[in-house]
Symmetry: C2
Subunit: 298 residues, 2 copies
Amino acid sequence: MRENNVDFARRMQEKSELKKIAIQGEPGSNSHLATRQLLGEVELVPCALSVEVLEKLTRSKEADAAVLPVENSLHGAVADHSDLLLRYGVQIVAECSLRIRHALMAVPGVTQEQVNRVLSHPVALSQCRKFFMEHPALEAVPFYDTAGAVKHLMANHVTDAAAIAAPFAADVYGAEILRSGLEDDPKNFTRFFMLTRKEDAEALRPAGSVVNKLSLAFDLPHRPGSLLEALKELVAAGADLTRIDSRPVPGRPWEYTFFVDLRIPSAEAADTIVAGLRQSCREVVELGRYEAAVLPEE
Amino acid sequence: MRENNVDFARRMQEKSELKKIAIQGEPGSNSHLATRQLLGEVELVPCALSVEVLEKLTRSKEADAAVLPVENSLHGAVADHSDLLLRYGVQIVAECSLRIRHALMAVPGVTQEQVNRVLSHPVALSQCRKFFMEHPALEAVPFYDTAGAVKHLMANHVTDAAAIAAPFAADVYGAEILRSGLEDDPKNFTRFFMLTRKEDAEALRPAGSVVNKLSLAFDLPHRPGSLLEALKELVAAGADLTRIDSRPVPGRPWEYTFFVDLRIPSAEAADTIVAGLRQSCREVVELGRYEAAVLPEE
């Protein structure tokens, strides 16, 4: 069994290499929460775009690691993050699963009655439909980031608008929570990957962590049954497919790169699987081996 | 072999039932072009949101059929369109593949030198990076629709901005093309499905069309190897998997519905495949059987 998150985070922090973590979004965002769950308190390198997260990890090396969302249990894969993992050749060394919570918050002293607009990321707004149906006077206004919306209200002392963000964002910016549990569906989880540069993966993988999960990307030869053959290899090696996604190959219309996450019986199985797959696939890239996250309690 | 598009469109138009076609976006959009490729000149029912397209087809019946993009060769699946097909229980009766072209256009008489902003859909803007790098003085401004941007310029006689849209949009709105071939990657194709209500699928499937493609959605039992078993069924029936996508099942975190497109040897094979898959899958939904589109010339 995995140790608890506090122990995990403590052990990770003891590694002196791990100081700066790049995330997409502002402090107080769900990516910040996922980073805390994985690593405790660390210095954040907030980035406006996901591609900057990868640039700061691999090119400028302003960050020692990165934490990026990979899929949401209601919305599916963050497809272009799969593309980025492959393009930048980074390695996944840990994953976590975060319950997504939406709260309404405003500048302290502002009441819900004073508010006529609600700012948040479009996905967060779309996950609070019931709330907006019950409050038709409130206009939903798209903003680039959930925590960024709270930051904006506080920095500009906006008193006629509220924001929807994780309750944690209220702590970070000193906003006041007007209402919690705005999400339509409480079974709303996002999986995050912790990423390192390829050469640091062994050193930065959590010391006591068990390798029981493997992520791969592969291209298939263009002939019938090729995906079936690849999956046979995986099952023969004792792997259990927990996710499969296909992404287009630029310049080769209607050809795909497959991204798979596998539960594997042991670290040794990872080597067998990669070697086996190389027999039947055009290209096989190991994206990382790590310990499977436990689904958090609801 | 398939007859040419003109004959296909003529035959479709002879069917008196097919008068109004719902699309997402404005006249002059790529969805409009795809509709012309499939059906020739028909009356459009333009909708702001994709969900409205499905509502107008199945609930209010303001449309007899709909044409929706399903995947792009650079950006991948339009994931929530797969969800909508399943949720509204519509049937795919035809598909087409459209080369995506981006042109710069403005109000007639306006020159590129007069322009300081370029309006378009964010995806179109992101596909013309080279053009914006070569013209750093031009600001890329996101707009809700490519053709909608052209409509906006013309309706408001905007003279300091241009729009990026399909050359066809210039014809539709009387705009002037300043420059063609703005797209970074010419191998840029979008596949579209023509959809009907379930009860109309047989009557509205193009009369002479061969059934050699089948689209399905299925849920798998939660046990190792279940996807492999399902794919074995498909291959045993002579099907060639041309696309597989997974989408989350709301309320069941980390469970997925699989969407597959299959080349099949005959219409009879479709029945065998669906029946076979029902043995191993939790739920199997036939999304439609139709004739495979030919990739257009570049």
